[in-house]
């Protein structure tokens, strides 16, 4: 549905060049909720603006629904844009007109009839739960309500694609969750393709089914959310995941443990089984849990444990072999014996 190929974009300022995007290749399928995560300055905002050509790339192709946006006249580009809603970190509503007129803007732009506009605005207000704010002005609304109005405005022209540029970054955690839930509902109800730019792992985790991780203008990895979450390949991917599940601070303090510390990652049906108890009983090993976390990603439950095993070496090995066979991942995050013996 959206395809970016070999996109490059460099910004020239007075004394330096900033490579905002380098060799970006991205495929977003219909119905995806696609997350792009990265720190500030990674090029995420430029990337999302490439999709509707608010920023023109220096090279590469932008294809939406089979149309190469770089080859069409402005008029046709505007038509395609009206088929893509966009919401922003700062909401970007017009403060001088009321909620009704803000939401009606895309409809008026394509010269819809008064009746059609009225019906659609009511429908949208109902969708975002702001029926009572129809004639309020944006300055009378809270941040979360403003973003709801912005979502209603973005969706009023029945777009097939919704672009979200840090849409929850200016909101508090509770409001963030309610907006994410709304986006999820809209996605499920309307079958709309959603692209989300964010620096919050929480956002990606809550609603995305696919994710790309960006650093310094490049996509360092992309794929299915569960794959990325359970098995990040890039160092920045690892950083995001371990920081998010909170294991990063624990991992730093592991040196106090005398034995080998393992990180057990698991997802899917395994999470419903009492695996550790089973290992303890079956293989006669004692398991000390140092850290544990279970998350729901999109529709999949993903867990992560830091543990040490106590018992006979062969029992421990057998327990780990069995555990690995369950569609899980085991890695050694700290090996005190090894590092001690090295020191000796």
């Amino acid at each position: 549905m959206i395809s970016l190929k070999d996109i490059n974009k460099t910004f020239h300022t007075k004394d330096k060049e900033v490579k905002a995007l380098q060799n970006i290749n991205l495929e977003i399928a219909q119905g995806d909720i696609f997350g792009v995560i990265g720190y500030s300055g990674a090029g995420k905002s430029t990337l999302i603006r490439i999709i509707n050509l608010l920023e023109k790339p220096d090279s590469g192709t932008v294809t939406v629904n089979g149309v190469n946006l770089l080859e069409i006249p402005d008029r046709q580009l505007r038509e395609i844009r009206s088929n893509m809603g966009m919401i922003f970190q700062q909401f970007n509503l017009m403060n001088s007109i009321d909620v009704y007129n803000n939401i009606a803007a895309p409809l008026k732009n394509r010269k819809a009839s008064k009746k059609e506009i009225n019906e659609k605005v009511d429908e949208m207000l109902n969708l975002v739960g702001l029926e009572d704010k129809k004639h309020a002005y944006p300055n009378q609304l809270s941040g979360g309500q403003k973003q709801r109005v912005a979502i209603a405005r973005a969706l009023s022209s029945n777009p097939q694609i919704l672009l979200c540029d840090e849409a929850t970054s200016a909101l508090d955690p509770n409001t963030t969750q309610s907006i994410l839930q709304l986006l999820r509902e809209i996605h499920d109800k309307l079958g709309i393709t959603v692209v989300i730019i964010t620096h919050q792992m929480e956002v990606v985790k809550s609603i995305c089914n696919r994710v790309a991780i960006m650093e310094n203008g490049e996509i360092v990895e992309q794929g299915d959310i569960v794959d990325i979450f359970t098995n990040p390949q890039s160092s920045i991917g690892n950083e995001f995941v371990s920081h998010f599940i909170g294991s990063d601070s624990i991992e730093k303090n592991l040196s106090q443990f005398q034995r080998v510390v393992y990180k057990l990652s698991f997802f899917g049906t395994v999470t419903h089984e009492p695996i550790l108890s089973y290992l303890a009983i079956q293989y006669h090993v004692l398991i000390n849990i140092l850290f544990g976390n279970i998350e729901t990603l999109h529709d999949t439950v993903v867990g992560s444990l830091l543990v040490e095993f106590q018992g006979k070496d062969e029992d421990i090995r057998a327990a780990i072999e069995y555990y690995k066979s369950l569609n899980t991942k085991v890695e050694v995050v700290m090996n005190a014996e090894l590092s001690n013996s090295k020191r000796d």
């Binding site: 809603g85 700062q90 970007n92 001088s96 732009n109 300055n139 672009l163």
Partner: protein
Amino acid sequence: MLNYLIPNAIEYFPEMMKALGETLVMVSVSGLFSALIGVPIGVTLLVTSEGHILANKTFYSVLSKIINTLRSLPFVILIAAIPGFTRLIVGTTIGVKGAIVPLVVACVPFIARQIEIALVKVDMGVIEAYQSMGFSPMKIIFKVILVEGKKDMVLAITISLISLIGFSAITGTVGGGGLGDFAIRYGYQYFKTDIMVVTMIVIVIIVYLIQGIGDLIYRKLSH
């Protein structure tokens, strides 16, 4: 009592009313034309400036330099410099009619710059949002920039009208009439101090009225 305090002002009351009328005509007519010409130029300056929706470096810098040049000419010199142009437009260089042309020439660049400054406040993020909805540049100007910036434009025009009152007083020196001319002629040259004082008070009242109306409209437009 009033006869004792401001005898001359009362004696010359009809002349003063005539002068007041002339000032009001000069300010309102030249204000109207200046706004009609100045606002589009101000909008053009804004949208062609760097990073804006119709950014055009060369065009912007040429237009901007013309505006700056016109603004740097002292008004009294401007009046003396363009009699040919004035006669071409209104057929005379004296009286209220003759004053309006140089007033417009002086006020247009002033209003244009004020409008540009007022409209810069319209959030680029909002403009970007409307671009993302597929609005054309013209629609963005009329449906977003002018709507969102109208209360600040009201303030810009208010300031311009007030400076027009100052300009209009100077036109008295070239036979333009008006309160400035009245105050200089009777108050200064005939040493009738009470006329000077009363005229000043009248001008101050006009300025306060214009500013007050401007602020009122601004508040009405603020949500």
